[in-house]
C-alpha cells in the first residue's frame, strides 16, 4: 500500500493539514476525513453532479479529483454556503429559494445544485429560464422533474439582485 501524503487545504475558509492516502478522492476526503457529509456521492463518474464543490472558485466534480490534487487549494462545500450570504440570513438566498419553491424532495442531489447555481448566479445574475436549464443540465435530479429547481434558481436570482441593489 502506498504511503500517505501530507496535504494542506482550505475548506470553507478553514485551514486543514493532514495526511491522506493518494488514492482517496476529494469527495471521500471531505466526507470521511473532515466529516463534511453535505457533499454527496452519486455516480462517482462525473455524470450526476451531486458532488459538485468549488475548487479555487470554480465548480468541479469532487469525485473526479484526488484529495492530493487539492493540495494548496481553497474548497467551498455546501456547508460553507450560508456563510457566504450577507449577515442576518440563516440560509444563503439560493438555499432559501429551494425552501420557498420546494426545489427538493429527497434532497440527495440538492448540494450539487446549490453549488452549481452559486457559481452560475455569480457569473450571470439575471439568467433566463433557458440559461438556467442549460447550466443545470449537468446535475441530475430523479424526484422533482426540475420545474421547482428552476423556480428556486429564479427566486434566488431575484433575491440576490435585490440585495446587491441595496
Amino acid at each position: 500500500m502506498s504511503s500517505k501524503r501530507a496535504i494542506e487545504i482550505t475548506v470553507n475558509e478553514k485551514r486543514y493539514e493532514g495526511l491522506v492516502e493518494p488514492r482517496i478522492s476529494l469527495a471521500d476526503f471531505l466526507r470521511d476525513q473532515l466529516g463534511l457529509t453535505g457533499t454527496h456521492l452519486g455516480c462517482e463518474q462525473g455524470i450526476c453532479g451531486s458532488c459538485t464543490v468549488l475548487f479555487n472558485g470554480e465548480t468541479v466534480r469532487s469525485c473526479l479529483l484526488l484529495a492530493v490534487q487539492a493540495n494548496g487549494a481553497a474548497i467551498l462545500t455546501v456547508e460553507g454556503l450560508a456563510a457566504k450570504a450577507q449577515i442576518g440570513d440563516r440560509l444563503h438566498p439560493i438555499q432559501q429559494g429551494f425552501l420557498e419553491t420546494l426545489g427538493f424532495q429527497c434532497g440527495f442531489c440538492t448540494p450539487g445544485f446549490l453549488m452549481t447555481l452559486y457559481e452560475f448566479l455569480n457569473e450571470n445574475p439575471s439568467p433566463s429560464e433557458d440559461e438556467i436549464r442549460e447550466r443545470l443540465s449537468g446535475n441530475l435530479c430523479r424526484c422533482t422533474g426540475y420545474q421547482n429547481i428552476v423556480a428556486a434558481a429564479l427566486w434566488a436570482a431575484e433575491r440576490l439582485r435585490a440585495k446587491s441593489d441595496r
Binding site: 463518474q45 470554480e58 473526479l64
Partner: protein, 255 residues
Amino acid sequence: MPLLNLRLTKPKILVDLNGISSLDSIRETSGGLSIGAMTRQSRVERSSLVRERCPILAEAIRYIGHVAIRHRGTIGGSLVHADPAAELPAVALALDAKFEVARDGRDRVIPAAEFFIDYLTSALAPDEILREIVFPMVRPSSGYALEEVTRRHGDFAIAGVVAIVDLDEAAKIADVRVALFGVASTSVRARKLERALMGQEPNEHVFRDAAALLDDVLDPPGDIHASTAYRKHAAAVLTARALHRAVQVCHDRRL
C-alpha cells in the same frame, strides 16, 4: 478518474501531469495556434486568441460535458482519450491539427489523420505523452459550424459533424472540410463529400446531394441510444445543416 472509481483500471503508478505548468499554454506560432495538452477546456473556451484565430475550437468546447467538467477537463486529455463520439477529435481532424508528442527527450509529430486509431485508442505509445497540439488557424474568410444530436445537453453525441467552408470570389466553394463523430470507431473525415463539393455553388441541393454520398461510406454502430439507420440518417441531415450554417458564417464574417 471514472475508470479508477469504477475499478476498470488499477494502475500501480499514477503520474499527475498537473504539476507541469509548461503544458498549460495557448500560443500563436508559425504553424497556427499551439495549445498545451494540460490546458483546461474552459480556458480555451474563454480565450480571446482562440475565439479570434480558431473559433471552431471554442465553439466545439461548449458542447463538451458541462461547465464543472470543462473547468478540470483538458484539451490533451480529451484528444488522447480518443472517444469516437467526442467533439475535439473531429475538430482536430477537420483542421489537420498536429500532435507534438514527447518521449524521454525525443519528440515526434503525429498528424491528426494518423492519431486516432480505434475506440479510445490513440497512436501514443505507452511511454509517450502528448505535449502540445497545433491547430492551423481558421482563415478569417472561412465559415464553420458544429452540429450534433444528443439525448441531453452535454452528453456524448449520437452523431455529430464539424464543417469548415471557405468561398472564392465567385462565391463558389474553394475549401471544405467535414469531419464526423459518433458514427464510427474514430472520428472520420468525409473526403469523398469534400471532393464533390469543391468548386460548387453552396446551396441546399448541393449540400443534400453531397450528404447523400455519406450513405456508401458510413456504417455506424447501432446501440441502445440509436440504430445504425438512425445514425446514418442523422449524420446526413446534420452534415447538410452544418454546411449551410458554415456558409452563413462565411457570409457574416465577410460583412
